[in-house]
């Protein structure tokens, strides 16, 4: 643990019955850092977040935050955290402003103190004009932004965000990303779980790849891609694409994978492969740099999981 770390998790274990949900997981978050936790459904992301919040007791390991220990000092730690959970837990009977007021009271803040913050929080969430609207009248993106504003009511140093953009349309996601970037620029730290690799790549300084409760990779997004993948990907699909697997083309790629109807060629030298593909005009090809999605699928497998 570095002295500067805000949040440190060491050798965390969690079992539910016979199933090990989190297995020897360690990580830390420094000031101003955005740590992304990615992994398939059931990888243990949400359970990890719940343990970080003291909502679920670990079977082993330790969680330290801001010089305090979870779950012993759960209340003192949570007083300095902001949390957006996967499901919106906004109060349907309250307006946006009232939601912020009532939530601020849970932190022991005085009404006057909260009321002074409400206008800037609503402005941050682009909800100033909706101050008196109830959550039922808001779009999905607005609700998520209100949840984010609510998590900021106590001016936390660290935010825990569990899939903050799941279910949002592209515009709403971009607006959410912009807000999160702004928070990072202000020096806040973020722990983020996500299914979206573009989100992870855009926001996170560092990534943690979880599978079956275990950390299978950790590092900066670009470094991880460099470390685990060839730089170029050529996707080929269309009638007869599968026949390429038996053709000499296969030798032109370092690695070949199939997902659905598409063949993925991973290579450091795409030019030769693309040249050879001219002989198959009926096939459609897409040449692109390797990205986090490829990394994720390489590390966690392309097959669809039953629980997914």
């Amino acid at each position: 643990m570095h002295d500067t770390d805000l949040f440190t998790v060491s050798h965390l274990h969690k079992r539910f019955g016979d199933a090990t949900v989190v297995n020897d997981l360690s990580f830390s978050i420094g000031p101003g850092e955005c740590l992304g936790v990615i992994g398939p459904n059931g990888a243990g992301k949400t359970t990890t977040i719940r343990m970080c919040l003291g909502l679920c007791a670990p079977d082993g390991g330790s969680i330290h935050a801001l010089g305090l220990e979870m779950p012993r000092d759960a209340r003192a730690i949570k007083a300095q955290l902001g949390v957006v959970s996967q499901m919106d837990t906004l109060d349907p009977d309250f307006s946006c402003a009232e939601n912020l007021l009532v939530y601020g009271r849970y932190f022991g803040m005085k009404d006057a103190q909260i009321r002074a913050r409400i206008p800037e929080l609503l402005e941050f969430a682009s909800l100033t004009s909706k101050a008196n609207a109830k959550p039922g009248e808001l779009s999905g993106g607005m609700k998520r932004r209100l949840s984010l504003a609510r998590a900021l009511v106590n001016d936390p140093r660290l935010l825990l965000l569990d899939e903050p953009t799941t279910g949002l349309d592209p515009q709403a996601r971009h607006l959410m990303w912009e807000r999160l970037q702004l928070l990072l620029q202000q020096g806040k730290s973020i722990l983020l779980t996500t299914h979206f690799m573009d989100e992870a790549e855009r926001l996170c300084n560092r990534l943690l790849v979880l599978d079956h409760g275990r950390k299978i990779a950790e590092g900066r997004p670009r470094d991880l891609i460099r470390e685990h993948l060839e730089p170029d990907v050529v996707e080929v699909y269309g009638v007869g694409a599968m026949a390429l697997l038996e053709s000499p083309l296969r030798a032109l790629a370092a690695r070949v994978e199939v997902s659905g109807e598409t063949v993925f060629f991973y290579t450091a030298n795409a030019a030769g492969l693309l040249q050879a593909l001219h002989a198959y005009p009926q096939l459609r090809t897409l040449h692109r740099p390797a990205n986090l999605e490829d990394l994720f699928l390489k590390l966690t497998g392309r097959q669809i999981r039953e629980e997914a």
Partner: protein
Amino acid sequence: MKNVAAYAHSTRAAGQNPSAWRAPELSLRFWPVFLRNLLVWRKLAIPSLVGNIAEPLMWLVAFGYGMGALVGQITVPGPAGPVQVPYILFLASGSICMSAMQAASFEALYSAFSRMHVQKTWDGIMNAPVGLDDIVLAEMLWAAFKSLFTVTAILGVMLALNISHSPKLLVAWPILLGVGITFSCIALIFNALAKGYDFFTYYFTLFLTPMMFLSGVFFPLEQLPLAVRVVADWLPLSNAVLLVRPLFMDQWPADALRHAAVLAAYAVVSFWIALALTRRRFRL
């Protein structure tokens, strides 16, 4: 059960929370949760009040005046031997306890369940520095407060109808708050166990409705066969009625301490069970 035991053991091994049955961890952080419910209720108070008092008043008017005309006077035990009282007074003093019971139960079941399970309000609160124990305490006190509000409105109508003008009704008021507390504690046990709203129908039809008939609300307990009376004497509602009814007749209740102790015991034990079961539900 086996998993729960294994879980409790393993957490203890890691130096974590030992058991769902550990002592309650209560603090003043319950207050903002109570205020939250108050703020929602303030928006809906008047329509909800009409709903809360209309039914008990219908019972009172229909039974009290209708049956009262047939029954006339009814004999109840008093400190100086049996006393004759009008049936409507007998019924009013019992039904006010029943209303306290029902209002508290309804709030601690349907409304608390909506907040806990459907709206996930409790989950949101637990992301802030408020523990589950404080939330359960807030819900318990809130249901009791709401029941007191309903009871106060009904008492007001009873005064207006000239059913009783006993100054001892002022003492009945805090006792009815205690009745609300007892029944919200009991209801929270069932809230902790519920998978859906349907479950509460069982609680109402299998527990509360029989208790209404076995607690001396509509007719004196003395009417019951001895074997049934043995059970009835220990029901929380009959102890509540025995405390409140004499106050309506401007008398002090006999064995007041014992009845109060029975209610308090139900409240304390039920709250503890409710807390343990709720912690288990949230795996805390």
